[in-house]
Subunit: 329 residues, 2 copies
């Protein structure tokens, strides 16, 4: 089979079209004929060589997010049959196949039937970001109707799902953007209040929108300095959920307000092969919400073919994309 | 009435016996004839001047923890009547009376009937530390039967209640101590496994007791460097509860393991007068567990009279005390 693989870490130019043996299906797994994948930051970090401990072996087939058709099912798989359209985040790491190939071998526990109302391209945008947002807001923060939830980076991969999930859960949703154009998208996604973080400080928008009390839940999808801003934006006994805390922080604000900080690293269940079925379950729920019109993926207008994956990475890394960057077969 | 008050911040010698007017009871409050109080670290931090923003006005009557007899009840108070023996953490801060006096005016929401099986002296040891441990382990970490819970500093004020609460909740309880003598006390309090942190590194005891997996819940009652050790001791998707995070920390371990960090600052509800009745409710539950023999306070063998409060502070600050230091009228 054809694959877009890398034989060394580096710039997007390291991608090469190569021929690899078609994977054999094994127990508990399905073989997916890949239709589309999407770019997540972890994919270009792996490509650059920033995470060698969890990178697949060379020649490495990257990308976890996949949408495609089940070609064959392994022993013990009862949830899928050949011909099923599925989606998931199911590889691109050490010891696992990646989605940048004609076929991908994937643990059935990590998959769900794709939302009927979405194309393959749209479905491939969802898995990693939807699982991350679900784990963050539903499993960990356990957001409740009426709570005030601030979601940072409205048009980011995780942010745009976060807004919609929080809205579905009955929260009053606030979000941050950097421009008028992104503000319009954020409103369209269901945000009740859109804050331009270039025009207001945290103190100013906490004063304006919460009478200085701070938000019940702050979803930090950005990390680094933004995590400090998230601590500042949370109210007394509030909750901050972060998906990126590889940095050093003064924790005094957590003490002063008795905060809870949940750190979500979505890949853990997949990487350590523990409770993987949680991911399939979340994707099942996400598909239901998508088909009910409660959640939709935000795709950047630019899309790419597999042979253009280097360009897709360059574009995603540039920070100019709005929503997800998708790569189709 | 007589009070042990301070007219300036400083060393324990700033305590003076002075005469103050007996407080008038006000709506929602009770007047307590104080029988005993105990020393908490916040008391000597306030005395030193380390927390001027929340310190009471001079001449300042310090100490929150109190056990005593209700002398009078204010309008609207239905839960207590004159003659009731009560306990609570109910003052010693800005705008509130303190316990180092013959009488203390206290918000009825912050009090409960004292455990029948305890003396006034024993009851006065409990409020701040028991509320802290309850909020940490029951409200925030929500510990479950069978979970592995590591409680740091077995013979500390909060630690010794933490061990007993975790045991009562059905957890498998591990704790850290610095000596053989303290190990014996920790076992007596109900700890299943006692770790001497001077003889084993975190990596060693995580390997020995959890097969390297880490603990489900780590209760950090120490702070600073110990908080980093708590992050290291927690298992994947584990929980760390800290009662002291005024320092700066590398949060990478939280990311790598998808941890939750709950920060508990017990004074918040009292200081900001919000949901104070939670404290009364917790103390009601604590009294029940005490009278059922599930929880008992650990008192240092040395005890002090009100006129010896300076000495009590010196001793508590020296770090030599085992359990709580109590001061009796």
């Amino acid at each position: 089979m054809k694959a877009q693989a890398i034989a060394s870490f580096g710039e997007p130019s390291v991608f090469q079209t190569i021929e690899l043996p078609k994977p054999e299906v094994i127990p508990g797994h399905v073989l997916i004929r890949v239709a589309a994948t999407s770019v997540n930051p972890v994919d270009f970090k792996l490509r650059r060589g920033a995470m060698p401990a969890i990178a697949p072996e060379f020649p490495a087939v990257l990308h976890g997010d996949v949408a495609g058709v089940v070609e064959a099912v392994g022993e013990g798989v009862t949830t899928f049959k050949p011909g099923d359209e599925v989606y998931g985040c199911a590889g691109g790491f050490k010891g696992m196949g990646g989605a940048l190939a004609e076929y991908m071998l994937a643990d059935a526990d990590l998959l769900a039937l794709k939302p009927k109302s979405l194309s393959m391209k749209e479905a491939a945008a969802l898995p990693l970001v939807a699982i991350t947002a679900w784990e963050s807001l539903i499993y960990r923060a356990k957001i409740q109707p009426g709570q005030t939830v601030l979601v940072h980076a409205a048009t980011g991969g995780v942010g745009h799902i976060g807004i919609q999930l929080a809205k579905w859960a009955g929260a009053k949703v606030y979000t941050t953007v950097s421009s008028k154009e992104k503000a319009a998208i954020a409103r369209d996604l269901g945000a009740d209040t859109v804050i331009n973080y270039r025009q207001q400080t945290v103190e100013e928008y906490v004063a304006e929108h919460t009478s200085g009390k701070g938000f019940d839940v702050v979803f930090d999808t950005v990390g680094k300095d933004n995590l400090d801003r998230s601590f500042a934006a949370a109210g007394m006994h509030g909750t901050v959920v972060s998906i990126s805390t590889r940095s050093t922080h003064d924790l005094s604000p957590l003490h002063a307000k008795g905060l809870t900080l949940h750190v979500v690293f979505m890949l853990l269940r997949m990487l350590y092969d523990t409770q993987r079925a949680e991911h399939g379950k979340i994707l099942f729920n996400v598909a239901k919400l998508v088909d009910q019109g409660k959640i939709r993926p935000l795709l950047d207008p630019k899309s790419f073919r597999f042979s253009e994956v280097a360009e897709a990475h360059r574009y995603a890394e540039s920070g100019q994309a709005v929503g997800k960057v998708v790569v189709e077969v």
